[in-house]
Symmetry: C2
Subunit: 122 residues, 2 copies
DNA sequence: CAGCGTTATGCAAGCCAGAGCATAACGCCA
DNA sequence: TGGCGTTATGCTCTGGCTTGCATAACGCTG
């Protein structure tokens, strides 16, 4: 068998976010959360899916709305399923542009990493 | 005058790092620290330059050496300037490859950001 | 030989985002 | 009408990282 690679489990990771005077205005994680809301129809379900407490998820989005000055979610409490949340058009538009900004970055980075750290490390 | 842009001070930021089973093996910040050591000739000076306590800088590098299993710095205490630290060839090589991995990412991201968020936000 | 600046490292304190717990309103449904 | 699941939000507590403080050795230098 081939010699055991020294970088078992080694991986490269990237993080992209937007900020204004030190405050996070949008990040890949937050985008993932918003998309989970869109997919599941509720913030509670989205939080469970990303494995974070509802408390935390709500706080993050709440802070975001405060900073941007407009709503990201249109919510209803009560009803058949207890309630639900959906994204506002503005939120959707913002997410779309964010995706365009970060498109391909992770893949590029991983490709370079794989090439440069192919069979040895250090 | 032109309408005040809604994204005054808005910026996109990226972070790149390597990790192995949850532990940071190298990051852009750590690389910056190492390069500051190379530039100044001492870890203490490097820490001052990056505006972090010596305590912190040393801990980070110490942990790194432990994880990789080899020395990043060759150090001397005492002497004319009190002591000094220089990078090992292995550390230099690692840094060089890290740079190749992340080359241009920041610039690309910023270009896309500027284009997509040119005159309005949301 | 006393002093300085650096490396090296233990220990205690602080700081803060994240997480837990609690409460309340809402609207359907059995 | 009592129960359920969701939104919404206050208060508190904690786990972990960052920092500060302290100590010691080293080896020039005045």
């Amino acid at each position: 068998m081939a010699p055991a690679s020294l970088h078992m489990g080694m991986e490269v990771r990237t993080k992209v976010w937007m900020e204004q005077d030190g405050q996070v205005m949008l990040s890949d994680w937050r985008v993932a959360l918003l998309e989970a809301v869109e997919a599941t129809g509720s913030l509670a379900a989205a939080a469970r899916r990303l494995d974070v407490p509802y408390r935390t998820a709500w706080q993050k989005l709440h802070a975001l709305e405060g900073r941007w000055g407009f709503a990201f979610l249109v919510t209803e409490s009560g009803g058949p399923d207890g309630g639900r949340s959906r994204l506002t058009p503005q939120a959707r538009a913002l997410i779309a542009r964010f995706h365009q900004v970060v498109a391909g970055l992770q893949e590029q980075t991983e490709m370079r990493f794989t090439t440069l750290f192919a069979d040895d490390v250090a």
